[in-house]
């Protein structure tokens, strides 16, 4: 049995979307900047997708620009900062935020990395206290890609009164309601391939009047905020992916998540990472004590179950996940963490198979572990 439970990494593209996209390679292949009708039609299609995204986050289509994905959107958002500015972000961001923040520090921008508590929540008082007269931007991830915790953007938005507020909504988009007005957002990042759309397509919400520091020069596309001929088939696919989202799916995925959490926590010496209640509908992150995550992940892979791990041994830096360390996990427990991420294609049968295999593998790996196991 093949069970794909790595949907936070990426998702399967819907067949309907592929079919639609194909038309934009072979028939409507015009360049949106061309003035003839091929170009006009391509431009109309772009704007249709723009409209769909804008509606989803309660704003207007002239505030959406397309990018090559969530990473580019995040880079573009943070690069609005200049020397002397102050940025506030968190210790649980995606690498496309924290690497960018580290890079900004080298350019003379001050950065504060907010702590999170053991459930993964940002402390609003710490945020308030961190704001100073140079604070220009607050960037806080909405739904966390590793531990699934959802931050209270409405409350954070209220604190960011005269400060720009950006969120990385790559994982939360189409899973939780996002209202850029209610949340007082100036910038927000989205990506297509996490919601069954194609890879290499993303969007950035840019509040009207806000000037970005353009990163790709050479064309006036995307309201002169991002040069380069638009990825029309991809953008059309992104729009279609949003159209195919069903409330019912979200609800069902959430129920499957709760079932998997309940069953996996029956295994001795396991713990759930991230808030139990304010959690992405598709995310499960569990630590298996006495076990190293890469071993668990690879054994599951050989048995057909595809998951990911926060273990250091599987990272290039040999450091465990910074997110798991930020919620206070000791290193050896962070090493034994596995993320299971579901999608609308996940079935109960697949989860039953997964649970069985996880139990088998955990038992074997605990048997060969020198760490003290009092569950034997």
């Amino acid at each position: 049995m093949e069970v794909y439970l790595d949907n936070s990494a990426t998702t399967q593209v819907d067949g309907k979307i592929i079919k639609l996209m194909n038309k934009y390679f072979s028939e409507n292949y015009g360049n949106p900047s061309s003035l003839h009708d091929f170009g006009r039609r391509a431009k109309e299609s772009l704007d249709k997708s723009r409209e769909i995204i804008a509606k989803k986050i309660n704003t207007n289509k002239d505030e959406i620009i397309f990018t090559s994905g969530g990473s580019e959107s995040n880079n573009l958002a943070l690069n609005i900062l200049k020397e002397g500015d102050h940025l506030i972000t968190t210790k649980i961001e995606h690498p496309s935020i924290f690497e960018t923040a580290k890079n900004l520090e080298r350019k003379g921008i001050k950065v504060t990395y907010l702590n999170v508590n053991k459930e993964g929540f940002v402390d609003l008082d710490e945020l308030k206290k961190s704001i100073n007269k140079n604070t220009k931007l607050v960037s806080i991830i909405h739904g966390n890609n590793e531990i699934g915790v959802i931050q209270d953007l409405e409350a954070i938005g209220k604190i960011c009164k005269n400060i720009l507020f950006h969120t990385d909504a790559v994982q939360s988009f189409c899973k939780i309601n996002i209202d850029v007005n209610k949340f007082n957002l100036s910038l927000a990042s989205f990506s297509s391939h996490k919601i069954h759309g194609p890879k290499g397509v993303g969007a950035l919400y840019v509040k009207k009047g806000l000037e970005l520091n353009k990163m790709i020069l050479g064309g006036h596309q995307e309201m002169n905020k991002r040069g380069g001929t638009e990825n029309v088939p991809g953008i059309v696919g992104f729009g279609e992916a949003i159209k195919l989202i069903k409330e019912n799916d979200i609800k069902r995925i959430g129920e499957l998540r709760d079932f998997l959490i309940k069953e996996l926590l029956k295994i001795p010496r396991t713990r759930l990472n991230g808030s139990k209640n304010k959690r992405l509908c598709n995310n499960i992150n569990i630590s298996f004590e006495l076990i190293e995550g890469e071993g668990l992940m690879l054994h599951l892979d050989m048995k057909g179950v595809k998951v990911s791990t926060g273990s250091a041994c599987s990272s290039q830096t040999l450091e465990p996940s910074h997110v798991l360390i930020a919620i206070g996990l000791p290193h050896e427990i962070a090493h034994g963490s596995i993320r299971f991420s579901l999608s609308k294609n996940t079935t109960k049968k697949e989860l039953l198979y997964t649970i069985k295999k996880v139990k088998e593998v955990a038992k074997l790996l605990r048997k060969i572990s020198p760490l003290k196991d009092d569950t034997k």
Partner: protein, 128 residues
């Protein structure tokens, strides 16, 4: 990222466990870096009266590279004289496995260190 042989040793580990009345014990690594290995040896004598590793068992908390090298090193030293066993290096173990990704070198060193440490432990006990 791993070759077939490494995955095979990882999947079907050999000689894992503990020796209750071991002659020497080595425990290396730390939880911070993600790999810990414990190795037990039982020393006996061959027909010519030389000290040999009669039995060897390991337990490892670690990635596939750490588990595969643990398994391989114990296979390599079983039945060898102490002098021969001391000469086994991490490179030899890795080579026997058909190579490891460069980033995993640090995980494979554990096996050599655990073996050295178990032999030293035995020699210390013997002196007492």
């Amino acid at each position: 990222m791993y070759n077939k042989k490494v995955l095979d040793y990882f999947r079907h580990p050999k000689n894992y466990g503990v020796i209750k009345n071991y002659s020497g014990r080595g425990k290396v690594g730390n939880p911070r870096c993600g790999d810990i290995m414990e190795l037990h040896i039982k020393i006996g004598k061959d027909k010519r009266g030389r000290e040999i590793i009669k039995d060897v068992k390991w337990q490892t908390f670690g990635c596939a590279a750490a588990i595969a090298t643990s398994s391989m090193v114990t296979e390599m030293v079983k039945g060898k004289t102490l002098e021969e066993a001391k000469k086994i290096s991490n490179q030899q173990v890795t080579k026997k496995l058909g190579g490891l990704p460069p980033i995993k070198t640090h995980c494979s060193i554990l096996a050599e260190e655990a073996l050295d440490s178990a032999i030293k432990d035995y020699e210390k006990r013997k002196k007492k």
